[in-house]
């Protein structure tokens, strides 16, 4: 009996690995990019992706296979958020309010800043990175999912567990904040 179990487990493990190779590994670069922009660090991004892969592999049998990319990215997103919660205080202390935001920043109905009066020209890579990194985490997350991972509103809402309206307002406010930050740099 014991031998049967072991053999059975061996076969299952092989197919689990095959499944993992098929549904998770193809999205590794995207996963890395998401972690890179959410954490703001190239080194931490690799750690987050590795931790996310372990989580993904442990729950590989829950992956229905209908949207492997969404499934993989959702795990990376959750892992990155856990990482942010854990390391929040160590990053640029005092400078940013980060994941909790201030009451005002997270007030979805807060008035927009007076709309930018100048057209945002293209920013340099460094400027963009710095501006995104300075966003409070909930805003950084939606802009990264939309513009870098190219997810649509519905996918973002589902992944972040937010109502569609909240996704829209956060995205708009993230953009306004970025316009403001990038407009001031020059």
């Amino acid at each position: 009996m014991q031998i049967d179990v072991t053999a059975d487990r061996g076969v299952r493990l092989e197919s689990d690995r095959a499944l993992f190779t098929r549904v998770f590994l193809p999205h590794l670069q995207q996963a890395y990019r998401l972690a890179r922009w959410m954490t703001g660090s190239a080194v931490d991004a690799e750690d987050v992706v590795q931790e996310a892969s372990l989580r993904a592999f442990r729950s590989i049998r829950d992956c229905s296979g209908s949207n492997p990319r969404g499934w993989a990215l959702a795990i990376v997103r959750n892992t990155a958020n856990t990482w942010l919660t854990r390391n929040r205080r160590e990053r640029t202390p005092g400078e940013r309010k980060d994941a909790n935001g201030s009451a005002n920043e997270l007030d979805e109905d807060a008035d927009f800043e007076t709309p930018e009066t100048t057209l945002l020209r293209k920013a340099t890579v460094e400027e963009v990175r710095r501006a995104v990194d300075a966003l409070p985490a909930p805003f950084r997350e939606v802009i990264v999912l939309r513009e870098i991972e190219e997810l649509d509103y519905r996918e973002i809402a589902e992944m972040a567990g937010l109502p569609l309206g909240t996704v829209m307002s956060r995205l708009s406010r993230a953009r306004s904040m970025l316009f403001k930050a990038l407009g001031e740099e020059r």
Partner: protein, 242 residues
């Protein structure tokens, strides 16, 4: 001050989220209002800048082999009877953990947070984020929201039909909550990935709680049903899962 509705419309237009008729309206609006046109152009420039920056990001070639190595030492969560041996060991670990839980100081704040999450759900339009009596719908939904999600079992035959799931935030951590019905009452079953400091049974503001551990998770059931009914819920659940 620009109308926020207009700003959302411009953003949704730039994101390709509008149907063709609505898109035509937004184009007309932009023709009238230069500041909206400018926002649209700014969005496209920001997008170009972001994508240009992101195009430079590549994980090192060592990452994939590193992940394959890491995964090599792990076994996925096993379901079914083959897991019995494993869950016996887990049970021992859980028992040890429970002992620890009993001896650490109890936090009254936690019990109150749990009850207020349950109460809030009773006041909401619906007490769950996903409504489904199908555990194969609820489980994957929860798995996408929280790092460690519980097994979802339906207890309809025991008088506790599965109604859905939601994510509560307790003490800053997302917690997977499974919602069951019982007559006209609701039972929230919250699952914590780490041991929580809660006595095995307890009452706050008329809501009873029962807490137990298993499979690496700590479960807390909270409801206004009578204590003996809640105890039956716990034992039914523990007998049905695994």
């Amino acid at each position: 001050m620009t109308n926020p509705e207009h700003i959302y419309a411009i953003d949704a237009y730039a994101d390709g989220e509008l149907d063709p008729m609505r898109a035509i309206e937004v184009e007309a609006l932009m023709a009238q209002k230069p500041e909206l046109r400018q926002r649209y152009d700014s969005i496209l420039n920001l997008r170009a800048s972001l994508r240009e920056a992101a195009a430079q990001d590549r994980a090192s070639d060592l990452l994939q082999p590193r992940i394959k190595r890491a995964v090599g030492g792990v076994t996925p969560i096993v379901r079914g009877w083959a897991a019995l041996a494993a869950s016996f060991v887990l049970g021992l670990v859980a028992a040890a953990a429970l002992t620890w839980v009993i001896f650490v100081p109890r936090s009254p704040a936690l019990a109150e947070m749990i009850v207020s999450a349950h109460m809030r759900s009773l006041l909401a339009a619906q007490p769950f984020d996903i409504a489904s009596s199908d555990r194969h719908t609820v489980k994957p939904w929860l798995a996408r929201k929280v790092p460690q999600s519980p097994d979802v079992v339906d207890l309809a035959q025991n008088g506790f039909p599965l109604l859905g799931g939601r994510v509560d935030v307790i003490g800053g951590d997302p917690v997977a909550t499974i919602v069951y019905g019982h007559a006209q009452h609701l039972v929230s079953l919250m699952t914590f990935a780490k041991p929580v400091k809660l006595p095995t049974d307890r009452t706050v503001a008329g809501f009873h709680m029962r807490s137990w551990s298993g499979g690496g998770l700590t479960y807390v059931a909270v409801s206004d049903i009578p204590e003996n009914e809640l105890a039956r819920f716990e034992s039914d659940l523990r007998h049905t899962s695994r």
